[in-house]
Each structure stands twice: as structure tokens, then as C-alpha cells.
């Protein structure tokens, strides 16, 4: 379609042509023409947030739960700077987001005009790419390129900064036929000989381990499906990062649980002792590796990643494979099936037996209580009471996030939205708004901490306005629990500023937002309260009053190796861990 229109109309037209149905935003002087254009049509629905950070997190939740690009519209100056945390979050977790920012008119740029900021300068290091569009002729291409760049290769946020005079200017709009940028062509298909070499290593492995990450989720549902087939065809154990949860079903016996700083005993020990590591779509983050020179010291390492800069960044690998997870998994699976030679069954059984012994340690065990709700118990109950439903989970950042990762079992990809790379408190509530919008009939729960959730609490208004019945399930321990835990373990129990003083009454707060508030502080009443929450067709704030002193285990203290993991005192003692269960082959 080629037609004359204003820059502002082009923005909305380009969004519609890109299939955008929902736009998260907040108006202001420098984007008023775009809001005017939006007013004229109803194919793109605008969701008014209460803070621009919330707009980006909502777009992230939307994107992560659908695989589509999340879309944001904010004004110049403070609108753009408020969006920066969200953009950085999206960059760290490779979430596709297009953020359109208004800018002062071109003739005022550089003049310290009202609400001017150097948006492209500020967002350059926290976006995958950004544009300052200086002529109306460049606008259609910039908009469509932005979507292409955001979603292709390793996804990420893209900013398009549009001065107000360009929004008013008239020009000819057309949807470019060929979007790919001249210099930007991510490599999707792996080298055949590399995949062959990988499969050859897999057939000879004695103690193999799959280590998967968010790359599988980003690659799309096909990647998760292929991963399941490959893991099952090989019979190898599998662990994953925080970002990769759900790619492989947590109920499957080959699943070892999450690895890393708060990963399971068995996942971290398997990582430490494996002789072949097959990393698919994970990036050797420091929360995973612990002390680098003691990280999986004896293994041959295969690393599949779409981004060549992830290779050999932290950990030197033996066989890098550049490509999209789906393509690589497809090739691996085909070759594996064609290959006659398979790992020695006896050897593999021995490896599983060893893993059984580690599992018998029961590293996630905790002392339950009849008087006080243990946070782990709360998540276990939340999981048990929602497992047959169509449920999506978002989280804030802290202990509750780690307990959610440990105790909520994900069977499908795109069901788990959390801020991994940046660790942004305040992510979960707005993210749940985005998720609920994309999945109107589903149960969307933000597993929250009382400190985190206050950072973006204002988005309750957004949920109420747009009738999004999100459930904010707060594990209220009256502490910045994760901070308190570090202070307890590493700073002599000096709890400097980690007590969350003067908390609001969350039930009244919910009511003030015209939402529903529920409080529960007794284990015996928890199930009924959770069921009540599920059955309310409105946004709910659930104040789950939990044990203030509970710590999150296992834990690899920073700077330590995987085999120096700490476990809670409820776990089986090492000497007793080799039980009957451990001897059972899986």
C-alpha cells in the first residue's frame, strides 16, 4: 500500500502492517500527533500505563508469552528516560520490543529544549539498535526495520526516536518489500560439519548433560518440541537456566531442575562432573558458572548460540555452533537418529545412578510449619492448586523469584516471565498486565515480594482500567529477603536497611485501587484463600504473610565452585543421602 500521510499516521499504519494489536504507552507533548492518529482508528489498541517503565515491562511480558514483538509509545525527555530500565531489561533477556519515543522538533534538537534529552545517546548502550529519524522519507523504512531487527537473530529492544515536526510532516508511506537491513544478517543455519562433530561427541559421551537457556524459548515453540525429542532420544539428563524454564517439562524424570546459584544439588553436581556439556541457547552467565576456573572442569563443551559474541565470552568452549536453536536441534536430532553408534548403555546407567545419589540429597527440602506459612510451601500450594489450569507466571526479583523457579513446575515454554539478566525489581506486576492482555482467558499470577511490588504498584490502576484480572501473589516476609539473606550469610547479620518498614496494608491498597485484597497468614487457611483468589474475576492483591527468616537454598556463594554449594538444614545429610531412591535407575 502506497499512500500519502503524515508521519504520525505512518507510525500507526506501520504498527498495523506489522500486526501489532496492543500498544503500551503514555502520552506527552512530543507524541501528541501520534496519539491523535491513534484516536482515529481502532485496529491498534492503546493500553495506558501509569509509568513508562511499566509500559516496557508490560510489552516484555506480552512478547515473552506470545513470541511476538512488544510495542511501546512514550514521549520525549522524561518519558524516554523512564523507559530506560525496561529497555535495559529487554536487552539483558533478549526480549523483542519496539519503543517509539517522541522527540522535540528537529530545529530544536541540541538546544536544551523543553523535555529534550539525547534519547539515542542514552539508549544506545541499552538497545539492540536505535534510530533518530530526521526526515519523513526515512520514517517508513526505520519503523519496519525496527521490527525486523527486534525480532530476528538474538532478539532485543529497538528505539525509534521521532521528532515532532516529522510526525506532522507529510510523506509517502509504503511497506518496504524487502526489510532486511543491508549489513544485518544473523546466521540461522548451523555449519553441517559442526553439528556432525557435536553428534559424534554425544555418541561417545560417558557423563553427558544438556544445559539449556532462554535461547530455546526465543527460538519459538518448535525448539522446545525438538529439544524434548532430542533429550528423550538420547536419554541424557537436562538442566536449564532461570530463563530457560519450561522449554523442557519439569515433570519429566530426565529433568534435574534449574542450575546455578540457587539451582538443585543434582543439577550443579552434574554440571561439575559431566564429561560432555551440550549448551543450547544459554550464555554462561556468572550466576550459572560460579568460580570460572572451577566450572565444569573436566568437560568437553559444545555451545549453540545465535550470537557469536556469546561464544568464548566467559568460558572457552571446544565446539561452538552458531545458529538458531530450532535449526541446530533439527539437524542434531536427524543426525542422532541416523547414527548407529550410541553411548554405552551401562556407562550411561552409571551416570544416572550417580545423579540418583545427588537427587537423594533432596536439596530443596525445607522444614514446614503448622503455625507459620513457609514461602516454599506457599508456592507449592499455588502450583498444586493451579496446575490443571491455563496459567502464566511472572515474578519480581528476590527470594520469592528463586523459590518460584524451584517450586513451580513449568511444563511448557512461554509460561514463565522473569527478569533474569538485569534482575529488575518491579518487573512482575507490569509484565503480568502484558501477559494477561495477550491471554485474556488465562490465569496470570505475579509471584511477588512486598518490596519489589511497591516499585511498580501503580500499574494496578492499569490492570483495573483494562479489566485485566491479574493476581499479585505477594510472599510478604517484611524484608528485602534476598538482601537480608546475603547480610546474614556474608555481612555478619547486620541487616542494614533491608527491613521493609512502614508497609502499606495490601488489602486496603487493593481496595483503594478498586481491586480485591486477600490476606492469609495461616498454613491451614492457605488453600481456601488461594482458591478464592483464583475464582475472583478481578485483579487481586494476595498478601501471603510468610516466615521472615527463611533463606533460599541451595546456594553457591559468589566466588565459589559448584561443588561448594550450601544446602539448608532440612536437606538429607550427605552421608545419609545415598538411599534406596538413589539406587533406582531413572
Amino acid at each position: 500500500m502506497t499512500r500519502e500521510m503524515t508521519g504520525a499516521e505512518m507510525v500507526i499504519q506501520a504498527l498495523a502492517d506489522q500486526g501489532v494489536e496492543h500498544l503500551f504507552g503514555y502520552p506527552g507533548g512530543a507524541v501528541l500527533p501520534i496519539y491523535d492518529a491513534l484516536f482515529e482508528r481502532n485496529d491498534v489498541r492503546h493500553i495506558l500505563v501509569r509509568h513508562e517503565q511499566g509500559a516496557v515491562h508490560a510489552a516484555e511480558g506480552y512478547a515473552r508469552s506470545t513470541g511476538k514483538v512488544g510495542c511501546v509509545l512514550v514521549t520525549s525527555g522524561p518519558g524516554a528516560t523512564n523507559a530506560v530500565t525496561g529497555l535495559t531489561d529487554a536487552l539483558c533477556d533478549s526480549i523483542p520490543v519496539v519503543c517509539i519515543t517522541g522527540q522535540v522538533p528537529t530545529h530544536l534538537i541540541g538546544n536544551d529544549a523543553f523535555q529534550e534529552c539525547d534519547t539515542v545517546g542514552i539508549t544506545r548502550p541499552c538497545t539492540k539498535y536505535n534510530y533518530l529519524v530526521k526526515t519523513i522519507e526515512d520514517l517508513p523504512r526505520a519503523l519496519h526495520e525496527a521490527f525486523h531487527i527486534a525480532r530476528s537473530g538474538r532478539p532485543g529492544p529497538v528505539v525509534v526516536d521521532i521528532p515532532k515536526d516529522i510526525q506532522f510532516a507529510k510523506g509517502v508511506y509504503s511497506m518496504p518489500e524487502e526489510i532486511p537491513h543491508k549489513g544485518y544478517r544473523p546466521k540461522l543455519k548451523p555449519d553441517a560439519d559442526k553439528v556432525k562433530a557435536a553428534v559424534a561427541l554425544m555418541t561417545k559421551a560417558k557423563r553427558p548433560l544438556f544445559y539449556t537457556g532462554g535461547g530455546i524459548i526465543n527460538s519459538g515453540p518448535a525448539a522446545s518440541k525438538l529439544l524434548r525429542e532430542l533429550v528423550q532420544a538420547t536419554g541424557f539428563p537436562i538442566t536449564s537456566t532461570l530463563m530457560g524454564l519450561g522449554a523442557y517439562p519439569a515433570s519429566d524424570p530426565q529433568w534435574l531442575g534449574m542450575l546455578g546459584m540457587h539451582g538443585t544439588w543434582e543439577a550443579n553436581w552434574a554440571m561439575h562432573d559431566c564429561d560432555l556439556m551440550i549448551n543450547i541457547g544459554a550464555r554462561f552467565d556468572d550466576r550459572i558458572t560460579g568460580r570460572l576456573d572451577a566450572f565444569s572442569p573436566g568437560s568437553t563443551k559444545i555451545h549453540v548460540d545465535i550470537d557469536p559474541s556469546s561464544i568464548n565470552k566467559n568460558v572457552k568452549v571446544d565446539l561452538p555452533i552458531i545458529g538458531d536453536c530450532t535449526h541446530v536441534l533439527e539437524d542434531m536430532l536427524r543426525l542422532w537418529r541416523e547414527t548407529k553408534a550410541k553411548p554405552d548403555k551401562k556407562t550411561l546407567d552409571g551416570w544416572w545412578k550417580q545423579i540418583g545419589n545427588w537427587r537423594a540429597r533432596k536439596s530443596l527440602a525445607y522444614h514446614n510449619s503448622k503455625e507459620i506459612i513457609k514461602p516454599q510451601y506457599a508456592i507449592e500450594r499455588l502450583y498444586a492448586l493451579t496446575r490443571d489450569r491455563d496459567v502464566y507466571i511472572t515474578t519480581e526479583v528476590g527470594q520469592h523469584q528463586m523459590w518460584a523457579a524451584q517450586f513451580f513446575k513449568f511444563e511448557e515454554p512461554n509460561r514463565w516471565m522473569t527478569s533474569g539478566g538485569l534482575g529488575t525489581m518491579g518487573y512482575g506486576l507490569p509484565a503480568s498486565v502484558g501477559v494477561q492482555l495477550a491471554h485474556p482467558g488465562s490465569l496470570v499470577i505475579d509471584i511477588a515480594g512486598e518490596a519489589s511490588v511497591l516499585m511498580t504498584m501503580q500499574e494496578m490502576s492499569t490492570a483495573v482500567q483494562h479489566r485485566l484480572p491479574v493476581k499479585i501473589f505477594i510472599l510478604n516476609n517484611q524484608y528485602m529477603g534476598m538482601v537480608r539473606q546475603w547480610q546474614e550469610l556474608l555481612h555478619g547479620g547486620r541487616y542494614a536497611e533491608s527491613y521493609t518498614h512502614s508497609l502499606p496494608d495490601f488489602v486496603k491498597l487493593a481496595e483503594a485501587y478498586h481491586a480485591v485484597g486477600i490476606r492469609c497468614d495461616k498454613p491451614g487457611e492457605l488453600d481456601a484463600a488461594i482458591i478464592e483468589m483464583i475464582n475472583v474475576d478481578k485483579p487481586v492483591i494476595f498478601d501471603c504473610v510468610v516466615d521472615q527468616a527463611e533463606n533460599c537454598f541451595p546456594m553457591i556463594p559468589s566466588g565459589r565452585a559448584h561443588n561448594e554449594m550450601l544446602v539448608g538444614d532440612a536437606a538429607e545429610r550427605l552421608e545419609d543421602a545415598i538411599t534406596e531412591e538413589g539406587k533406582v535407575m531413572v
Partner: protein
């Protein structure tokens, strides 16, 4: 619970390697902000820039060529190349230091020398030996132009120093591969 580990949030650096100096040729779209992008990448990730030159080299295609000399461990050099390569407006990155035949690297310097009498004669004699040209002259000064490998320029400046160097302007290194093939 006995934790004597460091109280930092992060693991200590445990891998140390020798550092090397590499010259990288980077072909980029000549668009606003591209240089800021490259420099921001270096400062943001803590990489070194020993020398940097930029100029548009293909006007029709709006392509510029950046030559960067950097120092780092082999792992860091590999990272730098990959981090540059993934930037949207960067077309190609070539490590000129790992070509099968070493690339040619040149630099241009202009050196202003102030002096009278015997020093002037000596300066001209040195310039002649280094094939430096006189591009400006007054009764009490010369400006010499010299091109060559950085070591030659360093040598020239060092020898000129006692003769009254008052100002030096250098372009930084430009590099090109030998033989018939283009970048």
C-alpha cells in the same frame, strides 16, 4: 553455615592471560552515531583503544572505514571482534593482525620544530634521513610531514625532540591488507 567467601556479589577474576595488540579494520555505514556506538562499546565493556582512525571510504555506498588498534587477551580480542560484528550498522570486521601475510600499517604525523642556527640544519638533515617533507617553514620553525609505520614515527619524534619539537599531530594507524584481494 560457614561462608568466608568474598562479600562481593560476583565471582573474582580467576583467569589471567597474556595480552596482545591487534589492528582491526571495520567497515561501517556512515550514519550519525556509528562512531559513538563503536567507542561506547569499547568504553562500556572496558576494552582498550590504542589508536583509532575513521573516514568515509566509499561515498556512493556511504561506507566508512574505521581502523582500531586495541590490546587485550586473546579471549578479549575475540570478544571485541564479535561484539563489533553484531552491531547493526557494522558490515565487516577484519583482524589485520591475523592475516596470512601481515597487513601494511601506516601513520602520518606532522611535527613542528622551533629553533635557530645549527639545530635547524640538524633538523633538516634528520628529516632527510627519515624522508620527512617540509610542509611549512618560517625563519624560526619548520613543520615536517612524515608517514610510515608507527615505530618509525616514534623514532623520528624522539630524535627531533632535543631540537625543539613544540607540537605533534598524528593521524593514528590506517591499515590495508597486501595482495590483490579487497576487504
Amino acid at each position: 553455615m560457614n561462608t568466608t567467601a568474598s562479600t562481593t556479589h560476583y565471582p573474582a577474576q580467576t583467569i589471567t592471560q597474556r595480552t596482545e595488540t591487534h589492528t582491526l579494520s571495520v567497515l561501517v555505514d556512515n550514519e550519525p552515531g556509528v562512531l559513538a556506538r563503536v567507542i561506547g562499546l569499547f568504553s562500556g565493556r572496558g576494552y582498550n583503544i590504542d589508536s583509532l582512525t575513521v573516514s568515509e571510504t566509499e561515498h556512493q555506498k556511504h561506507l566508512s572505514r574505521i581502523t582500531i588498534v586495541t590490546t587485550g587477551t586473546p579471549m578479549v580480542i575475540e570478544q571485541i571482534i564479535n561484539q563489533l560484528d553484531r552491531q547493526v550498522p557494522i558490515h565487516r570486521v577484519v583482524d589485520m593482525s591475523t592475516l596470512s601475510v601481515p597487513a601494511i600499517e601506516r601513520e602520518l604525523a606532522m611535527v613542528k620544530v622551533r629553533g635557530k642556527g645549527e639545530n635547524r640544519v640538524e633538523a633538516l638533515r634528520l628529516a632527510d634521513a627519515f624522508r620527512a617533507r617540509v610542509i611549512d617553514a618560517t625563519t624560526e620553525s619548520f613543520i615536517f610531514e612524515i608517514t610510515g609505520a608507527s615505530a618509525k614515527i616514534e623514532g623520528f619524534i624522539a630524535l627531533m625532540m632535543p631540537l625543539g619539537v613544540v607540537e605533534v599531530s598524528r593521524t593514528g594507524i590506517a591499515a590495508i591488507s597486501r595482495g590483490p584481494e579487497g576487504m
